[in-house]
């Protein structure tokens, strides 16, 4: 919140499906901190922008962005940053909604050494060094991060 002075110019976007759990919590907390202000919050599904669409046809979830992102500072929120391909797809999707002033990335977990594209988070909850064969699992109810 320190980087963004005017909440009106900021847009929070959670990435479907799992980033939405994180973004819901974040936006809930922000609304509590600033009860009199309007928080621009949307969810984005990037299924149609994936670079591996020919390998497997996936079902898409809802996208709801009811406001303009033109000239706004967008904060993309996801659960785990792994190869970076989801974020690449999210950037392509976002540009089709308008020209944001700035896009920042906020993730709960950053798997630092598995990146396949030059993408890094601006805000991250936890950095994990994991090898490819390991899975990172976030348990929603107990709010723990497990590496196995």
């Amino acid at each position: 919140m320190e980087n963004h002075l005017n909440l009106n110019d900021v847009v929070f976007i959670g990435l479907q499906p799992r980033g939405v759990y994180v973004s819901d919590r974040i936006v809930e907390n922000i609304k509590k901190m600033y009860p009199n202000e309007k928080v621009n919050y949307g969810v984005l599904d990037i299924t149609f922008y994936r670079d591996d669409v020919r390998n497997e046809i996936r079902m898409a979830n809802k996208t709801t962005i009811d406001f303009s992102i033109e000239g706004k500072e967008v904060i993309l929120i996801d659960d785990v940053l792994y190869t970076g391909r989801t974020i690449r797809a999210a950037l392509d999707a976002l540009i089709d909604f308008g020209r944001p002033k700035k896009v920042e990335l906020c993730v709960l977990v950053d798997r630092r050494f598995n990146r396949e594209l030059p993408i890094q988070p601006d805000y991250s909850g936890k950095s994990i060094d994991a090898i490819i064969s390991q899975m990172v699992k976030i348990q929603k109810d107990t709010e723990t991060v497990v590496l196995y």
């Binding site: 599904d45 149609f48 922008y49 996936r58 809802k62 089709d96």
Partner: protein, 308 residues
Amino acid sequence: MQLSTKHLLGIKDLTKEDISIILSTATQFKEVLQRPVKKVPSLRDITIVNLFYESSTRTRISFELAEKRLGADTINFTASGSSVSKGESLLDTVNNILSMKVDMVVMRHSASGAPHFLAKHIPAAIINAGDGINEHPTQALLDAFSINEKLGSLEGKKIVLVGDIMHSRVALSNIYLLKKMGAEVMVAGPPTLIPKYISEALNIKVEYDLKKALEWCDVANVLRIQLERQNQVLFSSLREYNIAYGVTKKLLDGLKKEIVIMHPGPINRGVEIDSDVADSKQSIILQQVENGVAVRMAVLYLLSGNKN
């Protein structure tokens, strides 16, 4: 995640699950069509040929729009003014087009079974845009999507198809789909236009009295009376047809509840449906057209996985 079939030849081949997947994917594409940039890049590596041997404006444009909104490259082929008039066979035409590396074929043909024939002989995915008097699956899908959108669900809903059932591939596809999804189906029209054993064969209701049919239903899907057929002694005249079986405002207003009016288009105003009905707020005819693009995008997207 895949549909149970490689092609979309008819509703007959689809499972209830397939239909649910198509309808929910269409919901997401409908949202895409509200965005400032109405495109997604999912099919930008795919080339699709629209093979229309029978004339059509509405369906062809709808498919072409759907293809372009998915980023695909499209080729349009209409039979007149092409090699077909020089006597080239269907298989030859398609094989020639396929040699140019086309991935999917959307086909409309006056012979029932033409897309099935093609599916047996070529490797591309085939989508039936209407074959003879057999099926028109994407029309039934967009009709179902529209009913779902308006009424919330299909199960248990009462839908009557009104008009020339005998020659209608739209009617047949709709009957198959609605039965699969648990709706109750009735066909209504003059006895000369309703196949004799349809009630037993497809397990649907038949009604020759339009007023009774409209009293029963939640939705009336009014089919076009093909003007060419008035010379075939199937009904006395267009005016008499309108008097007995035309859906009029007076009829609608006299019903106990407000029903939903649908029509696949193009409308013959004053024949099977009156203007004030087609333009009324009970009519979802224009929404059907809008939904057609989203539903066709869903079908193309879901079948695009089988690239050569």
